[in-house]
Amino acid sequence: MMRLWRRLRSSPAASGYLLLLLGIIVNILVQGPDFFTSYNFNSLLAVNAPLVLAAIAQTVVVLTGGIDLSIGSNMTLVNTVAIALANQGHWPVGASWAVALVAATLVGVGNGLMVAYLRIPPLLATFASMSVVGGIALWVWPKPGGMVPPEIYTAYGAPFLGVPVAGWIIIAVALLWLVVSRLRVGTYLRAVGGRERSAYASGINTAAVKFFAYTFCGFITGVAGLCLTALTASGDPKIGLLFGLNSIAAVILGGSSLAGGWGSVGGSIAGALFLGLINNIVFFLFRNFVSQIQSLTSVASFYQQLLANLIVIFGLASAALTQRGEAGSGPGRRRRGGTQHV
C-alpha cells in the first residue's frame, strides 16, 4: 500500500487520478446510486470523450514543452469539413470523415512546421493558426446545420461489450499513445521537453521530434473532432471554441508540467474526466439540494458557474501541490545528496 502510494506520488499522473477519485466520490454523494447505472456511464463518456481526446492531444505537445491553442479551432474544422462534404458534397460519410481527419492532421503539420522549423514560440504560433483554422471552418460551413446518419450517433453513445463506443475510442487512442510512448520517439518527446539543448546534444533530431508531436496532436485532435461530430450529429462553425483552453486545464489537472518533459496521458484523461464530473456534480448538487432552497433559486444559475469555477481552481491547486517536492519545476526540488539547491 505504502509502496503503491509512493509510486503513485512519483508519477506525474498522481494528481489526476486522485482528483478523479475525489470527483467520483463527491459525484456519488450528490447523485446517489444512479451514478452506477450504465446509462450514466455511457452518457458521461460519450459527452466527455471529445475533451478527453483533446486532452490527450494537448498532452503530446505539452510533453515537448509546447502548447496548442488551436485544438479547439481544429476540432471545429473537422466537424465542419466532415459535415460539409457529407451534406453538401454528398460524399459517403466514411470518405468525408477520413478527409476531415486528414485536414486535422494537416493543421498539425502546419503547427509543427511553424514551431519546429520556423521556431516560432508555440503559444504564438498556435494562436495565429487558431485564427486561420477558425476562419477556414467558417468558410467551409458558415452556419449550423447538416446531419450525421442516426446509425452513427446512436452507435456512438451505445455500449459495445459493456463499454460505450466513446469509451472504446478513448481506449484505442490511449493504446496508440502507449505504442508511441514505447517507441524511441516516446522518450525523445520527454527529452525535448525536459531540455531541448541536451536532447539535441545527445544526437536527437529535436526539430523532427517536435514536428512529430504537433502532427500527432493534429491527428488525435481529428479523432476528437470526429467524436464531437458523432456526439452533436451536426455541423456548427463555433462548436469547438472552448476545447483549446479546456484541454490545457485538463492537462494541468492531470499533473503534467507546462514546462515540458513531465506528464502523462493517463493523468490527462483523468483530468478531463474530472472536468466532466464537475459539471455533473454541480448539476446534481443544484438539482437535488439547492433547487429546494426558495431564496436561492432566482440566482441559482450564477452560483452554478461560480461553484464550478471554484472547484476547478481547487483542482488546479491540488494538482500543483501534489507535485510539490517531486521532480516538478520550481524551488522545491528534491536532490539526492550533495548540494541542496533549493
Binding site: L183, A191, S198, G261, A327, Q340, H341
Partner: protein, 504 residues
C-alpha cells in the same frame, strides 16, 4: 586520427575561435588548455556538432569530415561529455545515458530492460552513486558529471572528449575516473581532456594544446614543460612570483568573533558542526563532495532551515528564515553553480554587479542609471572583468569573468561575513588567483570569509584555517604547520589523525 584545422567561430561580435587547430591520435590522452573564454568549450562543441564553425576543416582518418549535427559526430565515433552537461533533468539516469542510442527490441520499440542493464553496467564501472531509475535532475552535481561521462561512454566512441567533467568531482572520484581513462586509452581510445586543474592535467595527459583568445598557440609534450610554461602559453606572460595580501596584523584574540556556530544540525547531511569565524579571517571548509559543507553554508545563510544547534552572528543568536534576512544583516553568499544560482544571463553586467546592493534597498527606491553605469565601469576596471561593455549581457562573458562579476556583486556591499560554496569551480588559474586576491582584500577590510572548495590546492593557498568535513561532522581542523596536502587528503578520507581542537 582526428585533425581539426584552422577552425574559426564568431558569436555576433565575440570571437570564440580563430584559426584553432588540434590533432589527436589513437591511444593519446591530450589536454586542451586555456584561460576562461579562450574557446575550449567552443572547439569541443564544434567537434561534437553543437556549434557550426565559420570556417576550417576537420579530418578523420585523413578524410575530410562534415559534422553537421551531434548525431553526425556520434556516428563517426566522437562522443562528448559537455561542460554544461547534456542531461535531461526529468528523464531517469538510464534513459539519459542511452538517450539517442536506445537498444530496441522489435523495430523501434525501446528495450527498457536492456536500457537499465546497460546503464547499470556503466554506472558501476564509473562508481557513480546513483541508481538507473533516479531522475538525473535529482542527482548531486558530481554524480551528474559522471553520468555525463557514462553517457559519452555509452556510445563506445573512438574519440572521447571530456570538457571539465572533473570540475565538481572530488579527489577519489577523479582518481577512479583517471584509472578508467588510462585503461581505455591503452585499448586505442583517443581522449581530449579539458580541465583547469594542472595536477590532473599533468598526471593524466601526455600532450596538450593551449588556446589563447581562440587561437591554438602551442602544442606541448607535458613531460617536457612545467606549470609555469603552460601558464605562459595560456596568458602570454610569465606568472610573477606571487605576493599574498596578508590579512590585518592583529592577533587572533583581538579580532571580533563574527560567526560562532555550535553543534549545528541540518538533517540529514550536517550532524553537529561547531565553528568560529573572526573578522578578517579566511576559513576553508574541506571534505569530499556531499559531506555537508554546502548544507552547512546554506543553513547559516537562511536558505535551508537547520534542525538543531546554535548560530551566533555578531554576538546574537540568529536563525534566518530567508537569504534576504541574512543579506540585510550583512552576510553574502556565492555559489559555484553560476548558471543556476549566480548570474542573471540576459541582464547587463551593471545589473548583475548591483543585484545584491539593490536587494538591500526598498522596492520603491529610485535609481540613477548614470551613476550605476559609472560605478559599474569603475568596478569592471578594478576587478579586471573582461566584458564588451557594462551594458553587455552577463551571458556574453566567459565563466571566470562571470564569477568575478558575482564576487564584485558582494564587494559592492562589503558584507561582514561572506560564504562561498565552491566558488571557483571551472575558473582558470589566473582568474582564480585574481578571485583569491579579491577575497584577501575583503578579508583585509574586515570581512570574515568562509569558503568551501572541492580544490585542495585552493584551500591550502587561501585559508588560514581549514575545517575538514566528514559525514556531516568536523573531523579535523588544520592550521599553521598542520596545513599540508597529505594531512588534508587523509582527513578528507576519514582518517582521524588530527583531532579537532575547537568545539567538542
Amino acid at each position: 586520427m582526428l585533425q581539426a584545422q584552422h577552425i574559426s567561430k564568431h558569436f555576433g561580435g565575440v570571437t570564440a575561435l580563430k584559426d584553432a587547430s588540434l590533432s589527436l591520435a589513437p591511444g593519446e590522452i591530450r589536454a586542451l588548455l586555456g584561460a576562461n573564454g579562450s574557446g575550449k568549450s567552443t572547439l569541443v562543441k564544434v567537434l561534437g556538432g553543437l556549434v557550426a564553425p565559420d570556417s576550417g576543416t576537420i579530418f578523420l582518418d585523413g578524410k575530410p569530415l562534415a559534422i553537421n549535427s551531434p548525431s553526425d559526430a556520434r556516428s563517426h565515433g566522437i562522443a562528448v561529455a559537455y561542460q554544461d552537461l547534456s542531461l535531461v533533468p526529468r528523464l531517469s539516469v538510464a534513459e539519459n545515458i542511452l538517450l539517442g542510442r536506445e537498444p530496441c527490441r522489435r523495430p523501434g520499440f525501446v528495450d527498457t530492460r536492456k536500457v537499465r542493464s546497460r546503464a547499470a553496467e556503466l554506472l558501476a564501472r564509473l562508481q557513480v552513486d546513483a541508481s538507473p531509475d533516479d531522475l538525473a535532475g535529482d542527482l548531486e552535481p558530481a554524480a551528474q558529471s559522471l553520468v555525463e561521462v557514462a553517457k559519452a561512454l555509452a556510445w563506445e566512441p573512438r574519440i572521447l572528449i571530456l570538457d571539465e567533467v572533473t570540475a565538481s568531482l572530488h579527489h577519489d572520484q577523479v582518481q577512479h575516473l583517471f584509472a578508467l581513462l588510462r585503461a581505455m586509452s591503452q585499448k586505442g581510445l583517443a581522449i581530449l581532456f579539458v580541465s583547469h586543474r594542472f595536477d590532473e592535467v599533468f598526471s593524466l595527459c601526455q600532450t596538450a594544446v593551449v588556446l589563447r583568445g581562440g587561437e591554438s598557440v602551442a602544442s606541448v609534450q607535458l613531460d617536457q614543460v612545467d606549470e609555469a610554461d603552460v601558464v605562459y602559453h595560456m596568458t602570454g606572460t610569465r606568472p610573477e612570483k606571487y605576493q599574498a595580501v596578508t590579512a590585518g596584523a592583529q592577533s587572533e584574540a583581538e579580532r571580533e568573533v563574527v560567526l560562532a556556530v555550535t553543534n549545528l544540525q541540518v538533517p540529514p547531511r550536517v550532524r553537529g558542526v561547531t565553528l568560529t569565524a573572526r573578522a578578517g579571517e579566511i576559513i576553508g571548509l574541506a571534505g569530499l563532495q556531499g559531506q555537508g559543507q554546502a548544507e552547512f553554508l546554506r543553513a547559516i545563510y537562511g536558505q535551508i532551515p537547520f534542525g538543531g544547534g546554535r548560530v551566533e552572528y555578531g554576538g546574537a543568536a540568529v536563525a534566518f528564515a530567508s537569504p534576504r534576512e541574512a543579506v540585510r544583516r550583512g552576510i553574502g553568499f556565492i555559489s559555484g553553480d553560476r548558471e543556476r544560482e549566480g548570474i542573471l544571463p540576459v541582464r547587463s553586467v551593471t545589473e548583475n554587479l548591483f543585484l545584491a546592493r539593490l536587494a538591500k534597498k526598498r522596492l520603491v527606491t529610485i535609481l540613477n542609471p548614470r551613476l550605476l553605469q559609472d560605478e559599474a565601469r569603475r568596478q569592471i576596471k578594478q576587478l579586471r572583468i573582461v566584458a564588451g561593455s557594462a551594458g553587455h549581457p552577463a551571458s556574453s562573458l566567459s565563466g571566470g569573468n562571470q564569477q568575478k562579476l558575482i564576487i564584485g556583486r558582494w564587494l559592492a556591499v562589503q558584507p561582514r561575513l561572506l560564504l562561498l560554496d565552491d566558488p571557483t569551480k571551472g575558473v582558470d588559474v589566473s582568474a582564480r588567483r585574481e578571485i583569491h586576491d579579491l577575497l584577501r582584500q575583503m578579508a583585509a577590510a574586515g570581512t570574515a570569509v568562509l569558503i568551501s572548495s572541492s580544490d585542495n590546492e585552493e584551500l591550502l593557498a587561501i585559508a588560514e584555517r581549514i575545517y575538514v568535513f566528514y559525514e556531516g561532522e568536523i573531523i579535523a581542523i588544520l592550521q599553521g604547520s598542520e596545513k599540508t596536502e597529505e594531512a588534508l587528503v587523509a582527513a578528507m578520507l576519514g582518517m582521524k589523525q588530527t583531532r579537532p581542537k575547537e568545539g567538542a
